[in-house]
Symmetry: C2
C-alpha cells in the first residue's frame, strides 16, 4: 500500500505537504499541488482511513441502533440499512449494527437510532456523539422522517374530493409522535370541511381492524372512507369490507400509510403513502456525517409524502 511518505518522496516534498494537499489544499501553492496530485495518481494513492482516524481521534464508525423489534418480513429495515450504508460507504465510514444491549461497546463517531420511544429519551440525551433519529420526535433530537401529518391530510383530502362523505380514522394505539402527527393530519382536513372526526385505535395488526369493521358493519354507512395509519390496518379494513359484501371503491374507500411491501399482497392495492426509505436512509447518513464533520446541528429533515394510487379510492 502506498503511503503519504511514498507520495511525498515521489513529489519531492515533505509528507506534511501531501497531507495538506488533501486536507487544506488552499494552504499549498498550485505548483506543489500539481506535483502532489500527479504523484498520488501515479502511485494510486488512497489514504489509510485507520491512520487518519487515529490521528483525528475519530473512528469512522457509525452505529445504527434499531430499538423496535425487527420485523424481517417488512423490507423497511433492509431499505433503511441500504440507504444508510450507501451514504456511509461513499464517505468511507462504516456501519455497525448494534442493539440496545451492546450499544456502549466500542467507540464510534455518531449514532443513527430508529424506533425511539419515550423510555429511550433519557439515555439518548446522555450521548456525547452526534445523533440522528430515523422517525420524528418531539424532544428536539434531529431526525429524518416523512411529513406524517401532510400524509394523512392529503389522503383525507383526496378521499373527500372523490366524494366519500364520511371519513373514519383507524390509528395505531401507541403514543409515538408519528401517530399523533398522522391523526393531526386527518383531524385538520376533516375540520376544515366542518366534519366531525371519528377515530379508532388498535394495535398494528390487520386482524384487529378487520374485526372492528365486521362487528360494526351495520353501523357503517355507505360512502365511508377509512383513513388508516398503516397499510397493515388498511388491509384488515379492506378484507372485512369485502367479506361483509361492501364494494371497494364504489361504496367504501380505504387508504393506508407506508406502502413498503405488505400492500403487494392486497387486492385491490391500497391507496397509500409511498415512502422512499432508501432515500431517507441516505439522507439520514448525510445528515449525521455533516453534523460530525461540521459540528453543527442540522435540524429535522422532512420528506414530503407522495400518494401512491391503488384501487381503494374511486376513479
Amino acid at each position: 500500500m502506498t503511503t503519504l511518505v511514498d507520495v511525498a518522496k515521489k513529489a519531492n516534498v515533505s509528507k506534511m505537504t501531501v497531507s495538506r494537499v488533501i486536507n487544506h489544499p488552499d494552504k499549498v501553492t498550485d505548483e506543489l499541488k500539481q506535483l502532489v496530485y500527479e504523484a498520488m495518481r501515479e502511485l494510486d494513492y488512497h489514504p489509510n482511513v485507520i491512520a487518519k482516524a487515529l490521528a483525528n481521534k475519530s473512528t469512522r464508525i457509525i452505529k445504527l441502533c434499531i430499538l423496535e423489534d425487527i420485523d424481517t418480513t417488512e423490507p423497511y429495515y433492509m431499505n433503511l440499512m441500504i440507504g444508510i450504508a450507501k451514504t456511509l460507504d461513499l464517505h468511507q465510514y462504516s456501519l455497525q449494527l448494534v442493539t440496545r444491549r451492546n450499544f456502549d461497546i466500542g467507540n464510534c463517531d455518531g449514532y443513527i437510532i430508529t424506533g425511539m420511544r419515550e423510555a429511550d429519551v433519557d439515555w439518548i440525551k446522555k450521548l456525547t456523539k452526534p445523533v440522528v433519529l430515523f422517525g420524528e420526535n418531539r424532544y428536539g433530537f434531529d431526525y429524518v422522517d416523512t411529513n406524517n401529518k401532510a400524509g394523512t391530510y392529503l389522503l383525507s383530502q383526496l378521499a373527500l374530493k372523490k366524494g366519500y362523505e364520511h371519513l373514519i380514522y383507524i390509528g395505531i394505539d401507541s403514543k409515538e409522535s408519528f401517530e399523533y402527527s398522522r391523526e393531526a393530519g386527518y383531524i385538520q382536513q376533516v375540520q376544515e370541511n366542518r366534519m366531525v372526526p371519528e377515530l379508532h385505535r388498535f394495535d398494528n395488526h390487520s386482524h384487529l381492524s378487520e374485526e372492528y369493521v365486521e362487528q360494526n358493519w351495520k353501523n357503517i354507512p355507505k360512502n365511508t372512507a377509512f383513513i388508516c395509519a398503516s397499510d397493515r390496518l388498511a388491509i384488515g379494513i379492506e378484507r372485512a369490507i369485502i367479506r361483509c359484501g361492501g364494494k371497494i371503491p364504489d361504496d367504501f374507500g380505504v387508504t393506508g400509510f407506508d406502502g413498503v411491501f405488505l400492500n403487494q399482497i392486497a387486492s385491490p392495492r391500497i391507496t397509500t403513502i409511498k415512502q422512499s426509505i432508501i432515500e431517507m436512509g441516505s439522507a439520514c447518513g448525510e445528515n449525521l456525517l455533516d453534523k460530525i464533520e461540521s459540528g453543527e446541528t442540522s435540524g429535522p429533515l422532512v420528506f414530503e409524502p407522495k400518494i401512491c394510487l391503488g384501487g381503494t379510492l374511486r376513479n
Copy 2:
C-alpha cells in the same frame, strides 16, 4: 478515554506489559496480570480498536458484497446482514456494504460475497484478503450454505413416502451451483427408487411455473408431486393446480425451497426447506474472522436442511 498508559501507570508496569496481558497473557506472571486486570477494571479500560488496527495493519472492516440484484421484498438479505452484523459486532469488527462498483475503494480485512456467478470467479480469485462466500460454489472458495442436495433429496423422499407416484422436478434455469445440487438431490432419490427423473427449468418467477402446469394439465397424472427449486416456483405450481381444479395435497403434492417469506402468502402453505439465514450469516462471519485471525482456511460450512411442513404434501 483511558489508554494503555493510564492502566500501566496505575498498575506500575510498562505499557508493554499491559498490552501483553491483553494479547499474550501467558507471557506475564500471574501477579502482574492481577495488578493489570485490577487497574483495567478500575479505570474501565477498553482498548482503542483503531490504534490496534493501525499497529496491526488491519482495519477491522469486513466488506459484504451482494452481487445479485437485491430483492428487498425478500427478507433474505436482511436476515443475512443481521446474522453477519451480529457476529462482527461481537468481535468489534464493522460491516461495510459494498457493490461491485465501489468494491475496491477503501481497505478491509476480509470479504463476504453472496450471489457469485461464473463471471465473478476471476476477480474473486485475485483478492488478497480472506473471502467467504455465502452460497455454495465449485471453485474452491470457502462458503457457507444449506446442503442443497440433501434438501431436495429429503423432500423427494418425503413425497414418495407419502405415496405420490410421480415426481417432477421444477428447477431454476440458471447455471449456479446450488441449482445443480438441488437437481442432483432429486435425481438421486428418484433413481434410488428406480424411477425416471423428469426435470423442467424456468426463470425463477411463479407465473412461469404456473403457465407450465396450466398448459400441460391434461398430461399430468394424478398422484404427482412437484419438487421445486424455490418457493416462488412452488407457489406458481400450487396456484395452477388449484385453478385447474386439482386437489392439494390429496391428488397433487408440491414442495419448495427456501421458506423465508414468500411462503407466507401461499395457501395452503408450501412444504419446504427452512433455512435459518440469520444463523448462517453468523456462521459466515465467524468463519471469516477465524480465517483472518488464524490465517487458516476453514473449508466449507454446510448446514443440514430442515423440512418445514406445510399443507402441500399428504398427511
